[in-house]
Amino acid sequence: MRIEKHPILEFQKGAKIKFLFDGRELEGYAGEPVAAALHAAGVRVLSHSHSHNRPRGFWCAIGHCSSCNMRVNGVPNIRVCIEPLAEGMVVETQKGRGRLDV
């Protein structure tokens, strides 16, 4: 779902591009938040709570709440609500808290 027309805001879309979400090829617009592209594609579960493994979705949308932490191009804990989408990006649902590259 996307808002195509808004009474105040104008959306300037980038080029239509492809990216991978958990192995599925999806489409979005270059430069929009990864989370926006996922939302448009019907993806509602972005992460899971650490203690109870409950599904977590789009929440604060401004990079504060960590509800949308995902693995992007192999890097864990990326806040996809503020991460610009790029061609060929590999977005994955994160298992666990994310491991630092030691």
């Binding site: 650490h50 960590s66 932490n69 890097v75 864990p76 804990n77 666990g96 808290r97 994310g98 491991r99 630092l100 590259d101 030691v102």
Partner: protein, 384 residues
């Protein structure tokens, strides 16, 4: 309604006040009242790095922490509080040694600790790296490691003590600031609070960085002063680090909590004496730089929060414990200099014995503050 009289009034709702309240009540001291200006753990306890170590450089600090670790090990049973919340984990402390002077210091400290039965040891840079895989061993001469050091949750430990104390009849009044100490013929006669006067003959000053202000209300000059320390914490990540990593060279400590976040603190040697507990961006930048030097893979961590609190510093970085020679009935448990949480369980036990006129099971006479007048101080060297 506040109590109009009590046998003992404890000032300060941190770990020390709560633990002393519990120990007094357990020894059947009647009518113990604890007053706290804000809320329990609102001061240094709730802002501390939560570490518990026995690797100290003075015998007193070693003994107080060693005996406290024994109490921490059985605290859930003793206080009937969930072990998962107290979260006492013994994953060790690894001191990093970068200079010859530090090497000499840690050789002496480890010898002292071993003599007292603390299982610390010097380790090579190689062994240090085995303990903490992501450690940068460049310029490292070695380390000092004690496997039974660790950390616990300061909020829950304080709540555990406070709840156990309440079950034994202690009255806890939060949001109750102290405005004065009443005296009568050279001894304590009561405590004036924002909610009324509590008559009592015994006061225990556990006010942390504010202990000097409370003492001054009784006309006592206490050489304990406040000094800010800043802390920051990262997002949680999978566990990669067991021991607390600590460096005197960098004034730095880095701990990974059981649920994943890293807690990082760094002391500023030029920090002035003051009640300032503001957080600053400079701390984040400088601490991050030091952390990335010592543990480079932490460069990918995101910092989510920072805060500050007060160390209650004493001139020799050892606590001030005991009754005032000038004002009878005025007891002090302050000046913990950044290690109050870890020595609280045993210190509180000794303080309760002392307050009730018993001979404390360990002689703490040398920790009373007359020691500062004589000028013969044994300075604790291992403070961050």
């Amino acid at each position: 309604m506040i109590k109009s009289s009590a046998q003992v009034v404890i000032i300060g709702g941190g770990i020390m006040g709560a633990a002393i309240a519990y120990n007094l009540a357990r020894k059947h001291c009647r009518e113990v009242v604890l007053v706290e200006k804000n809320y329990l753990t609102s001061g240094a306890t709730g802002r501390c790095g939560a570490g518990i170590r026995q690797q100290w450089g003075t015998e007193m600090n070693c003994l107080l922490s060693q005996k406290s670790v024994k109490i921490f090990e059985n605290l859930p049973e003793e206080l009937d509080y969930p072990a998962v919340l107290i979260a006492f984990k013994q994953k060790g402390y690894l001191f990093l040694i970068y200079t010859g002077t530090e090497m000499e210091l840690f050789k002496r400290n480890v010898a002292l600790q071993n003599r007292l039965g603390i299982p610390s040891r010097l380790v090579s840079p190689r062994e240090a790296k085995d303990l903490v895989n992501h450690l940068n061993t460049e310029k490292l001469l070695g380390g000092a490691y004690c496997p039974s050091d660790g950390h616990a949750n300061p909020f829950h430990v304080t709540q555990a003590y406070a709840k156990a104390a309440k079950r034994l009849g202690v009255n806890v009044f939060t949001n109750t600031g102290v405005t004065g100490i009443l005296k009568d013929r050279g001894r304590v006669a009561g405590v004036a609070t924002e909610r009324g006067v509590i008559k009592c003959e015994t006061v225990v000053n556990c006010a942390g960085g504010h202990a000097g202000i409370i003492a001054a209300m009784a006309g006592i000059s206490l050489p304990v002063y406040p000094e800010r320390r800043q802390v920051m914490v990262s997002e949680p990540v999978d566990r990669i680090q067991d021991p607390m990593v600590i460096s005197l060279t960098h004034h730095l400590y880095i701990q990974q909590q059981p649920h994943g976040p890293f807690i990082m603190g760094m002391g500023d040697p030029n920090e002035p004496r003051s009640f300032n507990i503001k957080s600053g961006w400079r701390f984040v930048v400088e601490t991050a730089r030091a952390v990335c030097t010592v543990l480079p893979p932490l460069k990918d961590l995101r910092i989510v929060r920072q805060w500050a609190g007060l160390y209650d510093m004493s001139p020799d970085a050892q606590p001030v414990l005991g009754e005032s020679p000038e004002v009878k009935g005025f007891y002090t448990a302050a000046g913990f200099s950044g290690h109050g949480f870890m020595i609280a369980p045993y210190t509180a036990k000794l303080m309760a014995q002392s307050v009730l006129g018993e001979k404390p099971e360990m002689d703490i006479a040398m920790l009373n503050y007359h020691r500062f007048a004589s000028g013969e101080l044994v300075l604790e060297p291992a403070v961050v």
